[in-house]
């Protein structure tokens, strides 16, 4: 069973990291027919919107009638399904809550659906809970007016981590602290994603986890070997199918290892092709035309392989793991101070930050030479230290 289901809260007290929203929805569910007949829960994925709706229903012993984006087609469909639901009493329970999940999934195709929903809010006998990720689109303006708005914020990583620990304790399982922190930070406020990750990691025996990473590397190593040392054949075209990496990652591996295998003309030819791969990548970003990916893959495999005239180096080559991204990251850590200084300077003298960074050597010598300027720019002690080192 999925842990996200198994540990989905049933009572208000079990909901994590959304105290404000819980208070608001508790109020809403308590007096039925308050000021507004519907509430709109909005926030990023995995922050508890649907969960809160179910908790609210459970607390007042209500039946939930749920519609989600896949049901919400058009005006007629809504009338057919939702209208009876807002008028008829629940057969099994004393109360009823209507849940309309993921309302922002209503697309342009569902024209009329949204307006119909709004008019149904007016005539409903039961409270309606609507959930959405983003409600600031113009098409939701009249819906926003009809509903009480409750925002669910991204859950902070500490709360996520605590929740994960709680689950592990109940599962009698153990995962290292560092990994838990890692999962919690990586989730970026999405508790559901964090719990899913946790279940996957906890399910692996320690060695299997490493094995998986190793498999991934053997795949790319043998693919690189075939490309760089082998003759291009039609099979070469499919070489990355068995490599469990996305194209951008593969580009980095190729980029890192071309100079390990090729030199001179072949080197130039291979990099020229890689440059073309990058151009297609740029075009995909700009035009969102994903078919270009096909050309990327062909150049990356067959193209790079065909760059050499003959294979000279049949022996074993130990391929290097690309480390450019890591270097960029490390550098960003190191130059964080530089950026904050450039920012202060840029705002003060009416230029862009990028421009200030570009001219940093000049700017730096000016700032160092005059303590009054340091004061003027309100530089901190650390920033001044950074400059003088």
């Amino acid at each position: 069973m999925q842990w996200t289901e198994k540990y989905r809260p049933k009572f208000y007290g079990e909901v994590r990291g959304q105290n404000l929203a819980v208070e608001k929805i508790r109020e809403f569910a308590k007096h039925k027919g308050g000021l507004k007949k519907a509430i709109l829960l909005y926030g990023p994925p995995g922050t508890g919107k649907t969960t809160l709706a179910y908790v609210a229903a459970n607390e007042i012993n209500a039946e939930i009638f749920e519609l989600n984006a896949s049901d919400l087609r058009n005006k007629d469909k809504l009338n057919e399904i939702l209208k009876p639901a807002i008028e008829q009493k629940s057969l099994t329970k004393s109360n009823k809550i209507i849940l309309i999940d993921e309302v922002d999934g209503i697309s342009a195709v569902d024209r009329g659906g949204l307006n119909q929903l709004i008019s149904l809010i007016d005539s409903t006998k039961y409270p309606i809970i609507i959930t959405a990720n983003d409600i600031w689109n113009k098409k939701f303006s009249s819906l926003r007016k009809k509903c009480e708005l409750i925002q669910l914020k991204e859950i902070d990583y500490k709360t996520i981590k605590d929740t994960l620990i709680l689950i592990l304790r109940k599962e009698k399982n153990f995962v290292e602290n560092d990994i838990l922190t890692n999962i919690s930070v990586k989730a970026k406020g999405d508790l559901r994603a964090a719990i899913n990750d946790l279940q996957i990691i906890a399910g692996m025996e320690g060695s299997e986890g490493i094995l998986d990473e190793r498999n991934k590397e053997t795949d790319i190593f043998s693919a690189l070997r075939l490309i760089f040392k082998g003759k291009p054949t039609n099979d070469t075209l499919k070489i990355f199918d068995s490599v469990n990496m996305n194209t951008d990652e593969i580009i980095l591996w190729i980029e890192e290892n071309i100079p390990n295998e090729y030199e001179g003309e072949a080197l130039a030819k291979a990099y020229d092709l890689l440059s073309k791969v990058d151009i297609f990548k740029g075009r995909i970003y700009k035009q969102q035309y994903w078919r270009f990916l096909l050309y990327e893959r062909i150049f990356l495999s067959y193209g790079i392989s065909s760059s050499k005239k003959e294979v000279k180096n049949l022996g074993f080559t130990s391929y290097k793991k690309p480390d450019r991204i890591l270097k960029i990251w490390l550098n960003n850590q190191r130059t964080a101070k530089k950026k904050t200084i450039a920012k202060k300077y840029a705002q003060y003298v009416h230029v862009g930050e990028k421009r200030a960074l570009k001219e940093f050597p000049l700017i730096k010598s000016i700032i160092i030479s005059n303590p009054l300027i340091q004061k003027e720019l309100k530089l901190t002690e650390e920033e001044i230290n950074y400059l003088s080192n």
Binding site: L267, A268, S275, D278, G282, I328, Y348, V349, L362
Partner: protein
Amino acid sequence: MVSEIWTEKYRPSTFKDLVGQNDIIKRIESLTNSLNIPHLLFAGPAGTGKSTLALIIVKELFQENWKENYLELNASDERGINVVREKVKNFARTKSIGNVSFKIIFLDEADALTPEAQQALRRTMENYSSTCRFILSCNYSSKIIDPIQSRCALFRFRLLEKKDIEKVISKIVTRENLTITPEAIEMIYEGSEGDCRRCINLLQSTSSVSPSITTELVSTILSDAKPKDIKIVLDYAVSGDFQKAREKLLDVMLKESISGQDVVKAIQKEIWNLPVEPEIKVKLTEKTGEAEFRIVEGSDPFIQLQALLASFVLAGRGK
């Protein structure tokens, strides 16, 4: 308080203090005096007075209330159009203070916005046109979409001429009690490439070493400021050591935070100092131009630069 940063201290604060761009100033001044300006688009290279002119307009229009009625944004720093829109909205929501019926938003480096973001900006400009005037600045007006251009009065700023830069330099030299040789003035002008801000920064930077400014002094400062390591990168490449060249390149780009385009610019200048045949220099220039084009078209400048370095390896072998 008078700033100690000379680009601020000596920033002109009235129309008559401005140097260069005489035609533009005349027209802008009469627009400002009529207390009614259209949206403005300032196009031209860096350091030619676009932001300064915007600030003067605002100060002349609003007098002592200018800070309340003026918002400055830099499009290349703000992460997306949404940030811009949000800030614009908040600013435009309240009425202007004083007897001018609108506020002014200065959007610097507007050409850094994608065409889609510019479309959104256009809507924003329309929605708030009753309460706000926009002044957009950009390096190239061709990167501004037509609908925005057609809503703005376009002014093209030119690089400052030598005599203008000289005027700026001698004014500062007198006020700061410095001495400078004519050759050093010449060198600062060359090094600034008509960019007045850079020229003043160069002057302040040199003067912090010594108040008597000579060519020797300027040239040390200039070479410090130049990505001189690019020469080392090319030397590695031409001598056939691609790996070293590649490593050094990444190192330089990260440490000095210079963009791919700046590297191309530096490479293009270095070609003429390389020990290769004239026809190969021409070929390399062509490759460099192609690389610059591809950087604009592609997504990862470092890959494009490596491809270029590989051509330099071939050049080193006379190919």
